[in-house]
Amino acid sequence: MASESVIDPIHQFHILKIVDLGEPGGVQLAFTNSAAFMFGIVALIFFFLTFATRGRTLVPGRLQSMAEMSYEFVASMVRSTAGNEGMKFFPLVFSLFMFVLVANFIGMIPYGFTVTSHLIVTAMLALVVILTVIIYGFMRHGTHFLGLFVPSGVPAFLLPFMVVIEVISFLSRPISLSLRLFANMLAGHIAMKVFAGFIVMMSASGFLGLLGGTLPLAMVIALTALEFLVAALQAYVFAVLTCIYLNDALHPGH
């Protein structure tokens, strides 16, 4: 940064080293703000779920209701898209959903860091999903898993093209999964910062500017509401797509 008194829409995405771990093997390693937020998210999820259910009451209180709702929401999502067999992946889907959801919401806190606004993070999460699909698919069905790429009821001369298309669509899944979340979080946060910057810029230029500054202020308010929606929606989309891909691993036939 050139100085501390600048408005930089990208500043929020900077990775700051908290503890530098040097460069073992030529790669930079450090405990960063991103890592701190990741652990914060994990701790928040875990303590929320255990604290909310500490009473184990028959008639749940508010917090316990929230914990149970999150459980049943994800459980019904897994059951409806991947069937009862899919429940063996329930902890994975639940972890992914909660991680992305809480990361997105933490990012909405001023001065917070949005873990999911980093492509490498969303790419790794997508990789976890797609590797689970591939590994489980081959373990469960062996070479039958490749039937995923051979749609049934297609004329023989079209089959090679269809297989190519299916393979490409399978490979593009992790890319679209990670890019969707990353781009949504990044773009939303940049848009908010840019409009918030307009407020400061306009209000610095006198009374009329102060008056005009209410327009971007209204925009920022609307964007904040939208971002909350997007934060929840993207976590849901990520989890649902995970379930759909896992369903392919469970039932590879078309």
């Binding site: 050139a2 408005i7 990775i15 790794m124």
Partner: protein, 204 residues
């Protein structure tokens, strides 16, 4: 999250490949400034590959920990609570069903007792009615018999009286006819002739 650091209000648009342009003259009290790409170790942060190894490692550790905590502790715990509630509700429903069956049985017993009592009451009523009607029949018959006997006696008396009266009428007629004939012819007729004549008249 509005990030309004400081009062100056300077907007910086960071671009990885933008030329370094420090010291652009301020315009309307607002300074547009493009920071040097080296400020944070180069480029647009999400595409800064130098941070990737750290992020991958910490994400792996954090997400692995999250997965373990969820699958080992948190989720079984919630599942337990939900299952307990489900069991409890099922137990309560079963209990309620049992109680309902019991109450239904009680209601049935009550209905049965009521029907029995009603039948018994009906029997008693019928019996009483039959007895009463038999009694009244008997008394009516005896009364009728008595009345018939009295009627017969009265009829007999009437017949006797009538016969007597008829006999008297004949005697009076004979006497009257004898007297009328005696007055007309001046001498008393033969009683037998008068009697015969009166009998003839009565017969005709």
């Amino acid at each position: 999250m509005p990030e309004t650091q400081g009062p100056a209000g300077i907007l910086v648009i960071a671009q990885a490949d933008a030329p370094v342009a420090h010291g652009t003259p301020p315009r309307d009290g607002v300074e547009f400034e493009v920071p040097s790409t080296e400020a944070h170790g180069g480029g647009f942060p999400p595409f800064d590959v130098h941070t990737f190894p750290s992020q991958i490692i910490w994400l792996a550790i954090a997400f692995g920990a999250l997965y373990l905590l969820m699958s080992r502790i948190a989720l079984p715990r919630i599942a337990n609570i939900l299952e307990e509630r489900h069991d409890r509700v099922a137990d309560d429903l079963e209990e309620a069903g049992k109680l309902k069956a019991e109450s239904e049985a009680a209601a049935q017993a009550y209905e049965h007792a009521l029907a029995t009592a009603r039948g018994k009451a009906h029997g008693i009523a019928t019996e009483t009615r039959d007895k009463l009607s038999a009694e009244s029949d008997a008394s009516r018959k005896s009364l009728e018999a008595e009345l018939a006997a009295k009627l017969a006696a009265a009829e007999e008396q009437i017949a006797t009286t009538k016969t007597a009266a008829m006999a008297n009428v004949r005697g009076i007629a004979v006497d009257a006819a004898g007297a009328i004939v005696g007055e007309l012819i001046g001498s008393a007729p033969v009683p037998q002739a008068v009697e015969a004549a009166v009998d003839d008249a009565i017969k005709s």
